[in-house]
């Protein structure tokens, strides 16, 4: 582990050009996140949380300013390089789980491995991760619509971890779960952070944010508290 930030936003602005006029979702935001940090991003609706997550997840690029992930300037990467960085260095956990409906739980977890190695998983990594998040072998062959919300989120966590990414981006990971299941999921995320992952989560829930070592408050596209 070094002191060099794993993620660095340098004066990042994101402006959307809408018919009603330009809308600035992130306004000159600068932020460093170090390896193994557990960061919660909070803020009211429209404060720029999702835009920041899209930037951190390299789903979007800044209008101005620079974003560095693992020392690489995202703006200078090709689309394919960004796709590969997304696949290898970042694990996504979404509020709505976003599992692939046509694949079984096991295949959903195996999918990022296939993307990376261009072949089916023969190492047993997908199965062991499903075991680790509490999905048994029988459940692993169910399609997402045959699983409960908590089970789907566990599968999503296993999928996010399968390529051993450095960063876990969690967008309201407990938002669609009951309180008990939500806390169980948060325990898993805490353990992952303890194992060395950098966890960044967006939440409205202060109880969830309490799990983080550091909380960043956004308002009107600016960091108001860090």
């Amino acid at each position: 582990m070094t002191d060099t930030p794993l993620i660095s936003l340098v004066d990042v602005t994101k402006t959307y050009h809408l018919e009603s006029g330009d809308f600035t979702a992130l306004n000159h935001v600068s932020l460093d996140i170090k390896e193994n940090d557990f960061v919660a991003i909070m803020g009211p609706s429209g404060s720029g949380k999702s835009t920041m997550m899209n930037q951190l997840g390299i789903l979007d690029v800044p209008t101005t300013g620079e974003l560095y992930i693992d020392g690489k300037n995202v703006a200078k990467m090709t689309n394919l390089e960004r796709t590969h960085l997304r696949r290898d260095a970042i694990g996504y956990i979404f509020q709505k789980f976003y599992l692939i409906p046509l694949l079984s739980a096991y295949e959903n977890v195996e999918y990022p491995l296939i993307l990376k190695y261009k072949k089916r998983d023969t190492t047993g990594r997908a199965s062991s991760l499903l075991d680790a998040v509490g999905i048994d072998r029988e459940m692993a062959f169910h399609r997402p619509n045959q699983l409960s919300g908590g089970q789907q989120q566990r599968v999503a966590i296993a999928r996010a971890l399968v390529n051993d990414p450095k960063i876990l981006l969690c967008d309201e990971p407990t938002g669609n779960l009951d309180r008990k299941t939500g806390f169980a999921i948060m325990e898993i995320l805490c353990n992952l952070q303890k194992e060395g992952k950098t966890v960044i989560l967006v939440t409205h829930d202060p109880k969830v944010a309490e799990y983080a070592q550091r909380t960043i408050h956004l308002d009107d596209g600016r960091i108001v508290e860090s």
Partner: protein, 411 residues
């Protein structure tokens, strides 16, 4: 490809929307069947004509280059002076051919027959009885010998119900009233034999709907003695056809600007007929192609529906690191699967329907399984498949170029 996760996703997507996929594939089935059947029908027709013409491939046909303007036997018409091959020309032909073939002078005219009270039209041929068996096959009865004897074509005999020993009245004028009440004299001939079916032949002697009489009887009825309508040369060695044609041409067509005779053989007729059939087949294929265009629109529509229904799934795929090319591949696989279903069913149906159509329209399927004919089945399948994949190009491109953020937000 089968082990490819994207192929499996495509298979599952097709299965999920099975009815819609099958309905879309029906368009391809129709297109493949249309193209294959039209192609096979045209090819079978060409092959049949080729086969029939090949039976007279060793025959050179020589006709007068001038067009006959008046009825045969009309001695007063000056236009008939150059209307046939004259005896001097016949002798030159014989000299040119020498011992390399048999020269058969033939009189012919379109005329009216009457059997009982039933009138019919057809062609009457006058020739030397010895020449008849050189190129005609008498299936039933004997060859003509006496002056009042005749051979009748199989089709005409069947349509009139004529049997051996029956008598047929033949009008001596080439053009009679439709009701057969011509005032011209009507001579009778006795049918002594029935000529086998010849079909389409290159030697211009279509006896299926005609009658063959002795040249003496013909001249007695129609005049034009020693002015033949055509001269056929049956050569012993087909490799010598060109050489003999050139020799005849050199002897008879001394004036290049106004050739006296027209010389043709099976190859030139085959070229003409094949070219006509080829044009006809192409036209039919184009009609079949229109059904494939309709099918392409249907596949395009289904693929666009598939893309629109799976926007969020596309967003998930892209956000977790799927390359745009992989998303494109997934949708092209889907179009390919629809094509395989359509082309597969279409191919099988083409064989069954094509066989039936060829059998009904041509009366024979002897050429159906020849490579030149059956090739239209795989060709139609390939065209159907390619059309399907092409129809999937834009939807696949659209899917792969979606913004993952917008796609994920889609519900």
């Amino acid at each position: 490809m089968i082990g490819d996760i994207f192929f499996q996703l495509s298979v599952r997507s097709v299965k999920l929307n099975f009815t819609r996929s099958i309905l879309a594939s029906i368009g391809i089935v129709i297109g493949v069947v249309a193209i294959s059947c039209m192609g096979m029908l045209g090819t079978n027709m060409s092959l049949q004509v080729e086969d029939q013409l090949s039976s007279s491939a060793n025959t050179i046909v020589i006709t007068a280059d001038a067009v006959r303007m008046g009825p045969p036997g009309s001695q007063s018409s000056s236009s008939t002076e150059e209307s046939g091959i004259k005896k001097t020309q016949l002798n030159k032909i014989k000299a040119a051919v020498g011992t390399n073939g048999t020269v058969i002078p033939i009189y012919s005219s379109s005329t009216q027959f009457t059997y009982g009270n039933v009138p019919a039209r057809g062609t009457i041929y006058g020739m030397n009885p010895d020449d008849v068996t050189e190129f005609l096959t008498i299936g039933n009865g004997t060859n003509i010998a006496g002056i009042n004897e005749a051979l009748i074509g199989y089709t005409l005999a069947e349509s009139l119900g004529v049997k051996i020993g029956d008598k047929i009245k033949i009008s001596s004028a080439s053009e009679g009233p439709p009701d057969g009440s011509t005032s011209a004299s009507r001579a009778s001939v006795k049918v002594v034999g029935i000529i086998d079916t010849r079909g389409t032949v290159a030697d211009s002697v279509s006896t299926d709907n005609g009658i063959v009489v002795t040249k003496e009887w013909y001249v007695a009825q129609y005049g034009s003695k020693d002015v033949y309508d055509q001269v056929n040369v049956i050569v012993d060695d087909t490799d010598m056809i060109t050489e003999i044609e050139e020799a005849i041409d050199a002897k008879l067509n001394t004036d290049e600007k106004t050739p006296a005779v027209r010389i043709s053989d099976a190859s030139s007729q085959l070229d003409t007929i094949s070219s006509t059939l080829e044009t006809l087949t192409l036209f039919c294929l184009a009609i079949g192609g229109i059904s494939l265009i309709v099918a392409a629109v249907s596949i395009f529509n289904v693929m666009m529906m598939s893309v629109n229904e799976r926007i969020q799934e596309i967003g998930i795929l892209l956000s977790i690191g799927t390359e745009t090319g992989e998303v494109r591949r997934m949708f092209l696989y889907e179009a390919f699967i629809l094509g395989i279903i359509g082309a597969g069913i279409g191919g099988l149906m083409s064989v069954v329907i094509g066989y039936s159509v060829v059998d009904v329209m041509m009366g024979t399927t002897e050429f159906f399984f020849l490579p030149a004919s059956i090739i239209y089945v795989p060709a139609g399948m390939v065209v159907g498949l390619v059309v399907c994949v092409i129809s999937g190009l834009y939807p696949a491109w659209k899917a792969s170029n979606m913004d993952p953020i917008d796609a994920l937000r889609s519900d």
